[in-house]
Symmetry: C2
Subunit: 224 residues, 2 copies
DNA sequence: CGACCATTTGATATGGATCAAGCGATGTGG
DNA sequence: CCACATCGCTTGATCCATATCAAATGGTCG
């Protein structure tokens, strides 16, 4: 009953490289993608999956009426596109110039048949994706200001490790429109909610792409 | 690019029982649940999972502000609660008196370590849950009337096999409020959209719990 | 039959979308 | 190095879909 699944941090504390990380490092080869370049398209065969070396990725689908829904952002270190289905459900693009490790799925699956820890890691990865998607579902049940607050906290958590100095300053690699399509609101609404949060001193907008969480507790309060 | 993931049928055509079905039949024991009885709660250890023998199940979470989000309905034959995570994320209740097969997860996992087809089935099951959840995400990006239409088509598909006579008459086991919490709208809105669909002759409301899809093509049109 | 709860229908309120204009940052060519 | 064009972001005004509040109707079970 005491539901505790409101926020998705997206980062499982990893002390040491997992069997999946090792397999990916062994099997994968590097490939660069330019800004807005497609990594794979929806409905393509999911023969390969990816690990972000540098840059950022958005996974999305364009609905029939033209609207776009971003299902996830992937940050350096994240693995994505590892679908248990035959084909990719979503498309993926580089948000900026980015570098990926490209991994052949079958190779990994064959290794997993022999290596139990790897099989367990694959299972855990899908579990994680499922968890992420379920959190996204909960997000879409909230008001616009809550969605923005949740998004900021999520990004803060996921980028915490590469911030040594100011732990509450987060760099947003994506545009307002990207954020809007992730939160299923308009970019105008994202803007308004950000200024509203700034007016209540919950955050500070250093530049458009750099935001300081001034009152993390207050933000967490509003998403409960 | 040609995104084809708008609708989720929830039913993989199964010619013969899968390895998972067989394992479940071997390991599981039967248990009855009364109306609205909790099968498991969010945050409980996910040591067991379930297969619906008869009756219907809702999987849901209650958000902090009291609203409820139903993540899925499970029908006879469906397996649910097989989380790759340590603990259940959602709660599950019987919608009516229902009978379940209760399966010990570890037992199945151990079998899967020896039996490749079973391991593949487990993987496929999680894939299916992920797919279902992603479809639900897309659903929440639509207008209220589209959501209702999608829901009706989905229920029509999922119950097709146990309708011999009128293939377009569907029995809804759940209340309007349940439907509303699944579609993330109010029950009033569900009512209104149903009467709207009836007025346009897309459906007929035989009774509140029995709906006839009179113009399936028209419904599919409006959800594209 | 009567009580109770679910459902439908109606009236009003409101959060966010839409339409539109201003502003700011970034880059380009003179 | 500056004028200017461009694109993304913010702010403002209005509109609309759905929520909310409220009442009427219907269905179910004692």
């Amino acid at each position: 009953m005491a539901t505790r699944n409101s926020l998705y941090s997206g980062r499982i504390d990893k002390k040491e490289p997992s069997a999946l990380d090792i397999a990916v490092g062994r099997i994968g080869f590097r490939k660069r993608f330019g800004i807005n370049e497609e990594i794979y398209g929806a409905n393509e065969r999911a023969d390969y999956f990816y690990k972000v070396v540098s840059g950022y990725v958005r996974s999305y689908t364009v609905v029939e009426d033209g609207r776009r829904l971003i299902a996830a952002f992937y940050l350096p270190g994240d693995i994505f596109g590892l679908e248990p289905t035959e084909r990719h459900l979503f498309s993926a693009e580089a948000i900026f110039d980015a570098e990926m490790l490209v991994i052949n799925r079958n190779e990994v699956m064959q290794s997993a048949a022999r290596e139990n820890t790897l099989a367990r890691d694959l299972w855990a990865h899908v579990a994680n994706e499922l968890h992420r998607t379920q959190s996204h579902l909960l997000l879409l049940n909230k008001s616009a200001s809550e969605r923005v607050a949740i998004f900021l906290l999520e990004m803060g958590d996921r980028t915490r490790h590469d911030r040594t100095r100011h732990r509450d300053e987060i760099g947003l690699p994506m545009s307002r429109q990207d954020i809007a399509d992730y939160l299923a609101v308009t970019s105008e609404t994202v803007s308004r909610m950000l200024t509203k949060l700034e007016n209540t001193s919950a955050i500070a907008l250093r530049t458009t792409r750099s935001i300081v969480l001034r009152d993390r507790a207050g933000l967490e309060q509003m998403v409960i």
